[in-house]
């Protein structure tokens, strides 16, 4: 399994949560080290190889956001933000700064491990420089070379924008994409933060791929943050 080689750094100031995370990681066979301060995490990162970081945003010495900024200066390692804060703006800000995913406390071990798996898979795909020409999730399949989308083996018509949106989601499946990131990718940088167009586009797409748009099977809404294409 890919898991066994992965080294994970846990940055969390609360010992109980740290223990619980470490236990969950150990039970899955990950290697891990833990730090309780941002300073400690940064100095560990330069001395030891780390594949993925679990980062609490509310650290005693300085803000977790700063850690993301610093790490992103030299590394593309997946960062999963763990936060007790219910402010969605901060989650979105962390994601926009380059974090890959977030977990809001309280979270279950299952949830945590699932997020780690997704992040690591993306990492390995990047490392192997794999160029997929075809993605499939559930009954939904996209063929990039032929520019085609299939639902239950039946070819489906999509507008160019819907197609672009689907490609964006498939390339980042399992990851939360913030609203502002999607707008920037689909419409370009000048479009600002007008979310209405995105909401409409998303509604149109959902009506094509979901049986019940209010109980989506593929693209989940993370209220206040963005969207996520389910992974497994």
């Amino acid at each position: 399994m890919d898991n066994l080689g992965a080294r994970i750094l846990v940055v969390e100031d609360d010992s109980q949560i740290r223990n619980f995370i470490c236990y969950a990681l150990r039970s899955e066979g990950y290697k891990y080290s833990s730090e309780r301060t941002a300073q400690g995490a940064l100095s560990l990162l330069v001395s030891e190889p780390v594949d993925l970081m679990l980062l609490d945003l509310g650290l005693p010495d300085f803000d977790g956001m700063e850690v993301i900024k610093k790490v992103r200066e030299w590394s593309e390692m997946p960062i999963i933000v763990v936060s007790a804060r219910d402010q969605d703006k901060e989650k979105a800000a962390a994601l926009d700064l380059g974090a890959d995913d977030y977990l809001t406390k309280p979270f279950s071990a299952t949830e945590l491990l699932a997020r780690i798996r997704v992040a690591l898979r993306h990492l390995y795909q990047q490392n192997k420089n794999q160029q997929h020409t075809c993605y499939q999730i559930g009954d939904l399949r996209i063929e990039l070379d032929k520019h085609l989308v299939f639902l239950k083996q039946i070819e489906m018509h999509t507008t160019p924008m819907e197609y672009n949106l689907l490609v964006l989601f498939f390339k980042n499946s399992g990851k939360v994409l913030t609203t502002s990131f999607i707008i920037k990718e689909i419409w370009g940088t000048d479009y600002g933060s007008d979310t209405q167009a995105l909401r409409t586009l998303m509604a149109g797409l959902r009506r094509k791929i979901e049986t019940d748009p209010a109980k989506p099977r593929y693209i989940m809404t993370e209220i206040g943050v963005g969207y996520r294409l389910v992974d497994e």
Partner: protein, 507 residues
Amino acid sequence: MAIHQKNYSDFVNLLFMGAYLASASLVGYLFRYIHFTETNIIMAYLLAVLLTARQTNGYVYGILAAIIATLAFNYFFTAPYYTLAVYDPNYLITFVVFTITAMITSALTSHVKQSAIKANEKEAETKALYMLTDHLTDAESMHDIAEIAVKIITDVMQCQTGCLCFDENGLPEGKFVQQLSPEEQIHRDVTDPEELKHRIEGLRTDSVSGTEFNDWLIFGRDNVLGLIRIPLKRTTAMTEAQIRLLRSMIESIALAMDRHRSSQQRQKYREATVQERYRGNLLRAISHDLRTPLSGIMGTAEMLMDMTNSNDPRHDLSKVIYNDADWLYSLVENILSLTRLQEGKLILNKQLEAVEEVIGGAVHHIKQHSPEHEITVKIPEELLLVPMDAKLIEQVLINLLDNAVKHTPKENEIRIQVSKNTATNDVMFSVADRGEGITQIDLPYIFQMFYTSQSKQADAKHGIGLGLPICDAIVKAHGGNIEVHNRSDGNGAEFIFSLPMEVNQDG
């Protein structure tokens, strides 16, 4: 007394005039006796007129003296003597020239004198005003200002002055300060607060008269700041200049009071901001310090559950720990949301949101916690974009669904339905369950804070009664309405809330 005073000063003036003219006549006799020319006699009369004008107030006595002097000269010193007739027509010229000369000189003298008086008054005025403003700058409170004002006005006006401050709402305070003597100030109760208030209401002139006192109002920028009370007797005796001075003084007092008020206001705002920050910090600290250990407990309990078989009693014990921690966690969340809502400081982050997404989020959340329950969703085919704070409305839906899940057996239906009401331009959300419904006793109180159902006993754990008040507060903050009734088509309750489709300008 004022009338007496006027008569008295008239009398003195007349006395002076008579004395001067009589002396001039005596001197005239003396001159004639030693055979000086008549010119010298005329000069003596002119001097008498000048002295009269200098001694008395106003032009009247000078002019009167000039005329009387002419007549006296005619009467005593021109032939025929002791009559007002003249034989020599040359004298007529003398009389006319003399009268005119005497009048002009007396008028000039009076004028100089008046100017000097005015200058003195002005100087006194400036001095008094300077003293007042100088002292007022040292004042530290409204009452300081009142005390200083009373002292200086008493000094300047020489009467017992009082000052009553008004509070921030423009209503008179219960006590006023009064100067009894230059050294002694006392604080007195207002005897007629109601009457005073009544008298001042709707009044825009600067003074009101009572039976014994005259109240001069101190007008600030926005409202009445206080009043200066001066005995009625003194007010009626005031000269124009004194009234002008009093007005200027009151103007200065108003400025000082206004300045003081606004600096107080600034101080208050500063304190409020600091408190706001403390409060925010405290809330954040509580949320962090409670939620972090609770999520630790939940995670650990979950791990223990995973490590044990479901028939192991330790599995059940772990589950109890997990459930209790979960319950505590949502309680903390609810208290935090409610505090924010109740402070009225909740800033709605309103955006056009797709109804289906918000419902999807809420249903997904509930599904994670209670996967056994089936929730049916009915929404219109068209995309509904409604202005709302999506996170908060999601919270409302989660609370309502959570409530429904708790009261509905697993096999029964929970239904969430959305419809558009084109007549009122509202979107109606309905969450219906198949539970036992709500008793008539509970129905009116269900959205009240900390209300727990009367019909249930010991199992009060799920009835802390914060979920529904939070829904109520959030929906109302959006300009919507929430209500509940029991379903007519069988068991269960139905919660319905509305959200306006259009953003209110003031909302």
